[in-house]
């Protein structure tokens, strides 16, 4: 198993560099945008002394390197500072808003893989015939509009004209659920409140479908393309010559080897949903981290900006590591990257 550990170690090293780089970049950019954060936070009526006090507390009058030093020291202590927008610790805000976003993104990811891959397999297996044509047209449609456009379209059709789904929010007001994980679908089950669980899921469907649609299309098209290429490989002909069932050939001989090149891109698509969630959350009034992120950027809330960016960067990194592990699991060439002695 040592090649896998080597890959992980390298990935962790690179991730650390990326994380430090991103934090420096955003730290600098956030401070370059014009506007005094203390003044924006306190409003036009605050006195000069009040503004000066905040500036001193946030070390805003010192050099940028010194400021970064304070930031790193605090981060290592698990302290991201206080948000000037909510007046609460940034870590508290993140704990508050991140689960809503993750819930959305994770369900969208499940839809992307759970629907996109089977569609791609189906299209490749019936390549050149009607199921293939149908799937290609449908997926072209889904990838041709960004997720916030789908959010608006789905909302208009399925929440407005046909009021099948709620228009906004995560849960109906009639339910009061104690917060444990922040994931409402989990918390409602923990509370044993079946009605609230169904309600939470009901709220979750439209935004996550909107978020997932282009990913589903992308995953399906990518899977189809890689599989069609694999269908020309000699081991497919060999499998046919041995009389294996076409469905078995599709799964074990065409899909599995072609998933390896697809997986990296599907992982990136999944991580990119975190960014797309910004606009979908805006459309559905979803109280998630993305909405929080937009609000704090507009207010130049330095600590909150840094906190949000770090969390998103960390999520990207975790997704990448998971994808690497999956690839290592699927691809024996990586798992056994030393040539066997049996050769």
């Amino acid at each position: 198993m040592s090649p896998v550990i080597r890959i992980l170690a390298r990935r962790f090293g690179i991730s650390l560099i990326v994380l430090v780089g991103v934090s420096m970049l955003i730290f600098a950019i956030a401070r370059i945008i014009p506007g005094d954060p203390a003044r924006i936070a306190l409003g036009p009526n605050a006195t000069a002394e009040q503004v000066a006090a905040i500036r001193a507390e946030m070390h805003l009058d010192e050099g940028i390197l010194a400021q970064y030093g304070y930031f790193v020291r605090d981060v290592l202590r698990g302290d991201l500072g206080t948000s000037l927008y909510t007046n609460r610790p940034v870590t508290f805000d993140i704990r508050q808003f991140l689960p809503a976003t993750l819930e959305l993104v994770i369900l969208a990811g499940i839809l992307m893989v759970g629907i996109g891959l089977p569609l791609g397999i189906l299209a490749a297996r019936y390549r050149g015939r009607w199921p293939d044509h149908l799937i290609r047209v449908l997926t072209l449609l889904t990838v041709s509009a960004p997720s916030f456009v789908w959010a608006v379209i789905l909302m208009l059709i399925f929440a407005f004209y046909l009021p099948l789904f709620p228009v906004a929010g995560r849960l109906s007001d009639s339910y009061d659920i104690t917060r444990v994980t922040g994931f409402l679908t989990v918390d409602t089950i923990l509370a044993g409140n079946w009605g609230a669980f169904v309600d939470a899921l009901h709220h979750l469907i439209l935004p996550s479908v909107a978020l997932a649609l282009s990913g589903i299309g992308q995953a399906a098209r990518l899977t189809r393309a890689n599989m069609v290429e694999t269908y020309d490989k000699p081991y497919i002909e060999m499998a046919q010559a041995y009389g294996f069932f076409p469905s078995r050939i599709a799964r074990s001989y065409a899909f599995k080897p072609s998933l390896i090149p697809s997986l990296t891109i599907i992982g990136l698509d999944f991580a990119a949903m975190l960014g797309n969630a910004f606009l979908v959350e805006a459309v559905f009034a979803w109280p998630g981290l993305s909405r929080y992120g937009v609000a704090v950027i507009l207010r130049k809330d330095l600590n909150a900006i840094m906190g949000t960016v770090l969390v998103i960067a960390l999520t990207f990194i975790v997704v990448n590591i998971v994808v690497d592990l999956l690839i290592a699991f699927l691809n024996p060439r990586i798992r056994h990257s030393t040539r066997g002695a049996a050769s």
Binding site: K233, P234, Q240, A241, Y242, F244, S252, P332, G340, S343
Partner: protein, 289 residues
């Protein structure tokens, strides 16, 4: 004496946008039980498509039009349903390919690939039984460290090793007919010769009939009891190997034979593209079929 494989007037055309392209123009070919027969011809002459028709694969390709009779073990493959044809493949007949390494599934261990093949006739075969039988088959193709090979992936083995694995796999279910489409042409000449010897021994021992496809008269001489020479979708000469070599009756066969010294196992024989006498009527060396 009835033949195991009895092909009569086999014709094949492909429908393309530019109209129909005829590839086989009425082929007759027979293989008796336990007989090793070679089909020799240059690239594009229709050797691989013949094998694909015997396996019943081309009949399911929509652009292909196949007609004629493909008698196998007393039944006509052409008259079978796709299901019946699939039931023959991997059980009654099997095939080995030109490039062993790329013909094995890169994501399965050798053990798993054997299991897939051996579960064709018997789906309930246990893992332990599969492994034991696979090890015995590998033993038969003189692979020393069977345990390690079974646990390996194709990319961890050499081409020659994969070739032996493929031969062992093809014979694992004791098929009546083995189709070998230019086996090992992608390998080293010496490795190729070695594995062909091995294959020859094995099929003789198992009594397996073989259709050995090649463009190399030199390789065929070692291997086959009888030879069919194919030129542009027509059989131009047929006879026992010694007779064909001693007295090649057809101009095309003579051209192929003249090219032999120049082939080193790899590459294609240096035969003139077309010559009028290549279209002369077929030559049969009597007494055999």
């Amino acid at each position: 004496m009835t033949a195991l494989l009895d092909i009569r007037d086999l014709r094949l055309g492909f429908r393309t946008l530019a109209g129909q392209i005829d590839v086989l123009h009425g082929i007759d070919l027979a293989i008796r039980a336990g007989e090793q027969v070679a089909l020799v011809g240059e690239s594009g002459s229709g050797k691989s498509v013949t094998a694909r028709i015997i396996l019943g694969l081309l009949q399911e390709t929509r652009s292909a039009r196949v007609s004629g009779r493909v008698g196998f073990d007393g039944r006509d493959v052409m008259m079978m349903s796709p299901k019946e044809r699939a039931a023959l493949r991997g059980i009654e007949m099997s095939m080995i390919f030109q490039d062993p390494t790329s013909s094995l599934n890169p994501t399965f261990t050798i053990e798993r690939q054997f299991a897939e093949v051996m579960r064709r006739p018997d789906r309930k075969l246990t893992r332990a039984a599969c492994r034991e039988r696979a090890a015995r088959m590998l033993d038969e193709v003189s692979i020393p460290d069977t345990g390690r090979v079974l646990d390996a992936y194709p990319f961890q083995l050499s081409g020659g090793m994969n070739q032996r694995v493929m031969i062992a796999m093809a014979l694992a279910n004791n098929p009546k007919l083995l189709l070998a489409d230019e086996p090992g042409t992608a390998l080293d000449v010496s490795v190729q010769a070695q594995t062909l010897d091995l294959m020859r021994d094995l099929v003789t021992r198992h009594g397996t009939s073989v259709l050995f496809i090649s463009h190399n008269m030199g390789v065929v001489r070692e291997f086959a009891d009888r030879i069919y020479v194919i030129y542009r979708g027509r059989i131009v000469e047929e006879g026992p190997t010694p007779a064909v070599f001693a007295d090649p009756g057809h101009a095309y066969t003579r051209a192929l034979l003249k090219a032999v010294p120049r082939i080193t196992g790899r590459g294609l024989p240096d035969v003139p593209e077309v010559s009028d006498d290549f279209f002369d009527p077929m030559v049969r060396h009597g007494g055999t079929s």
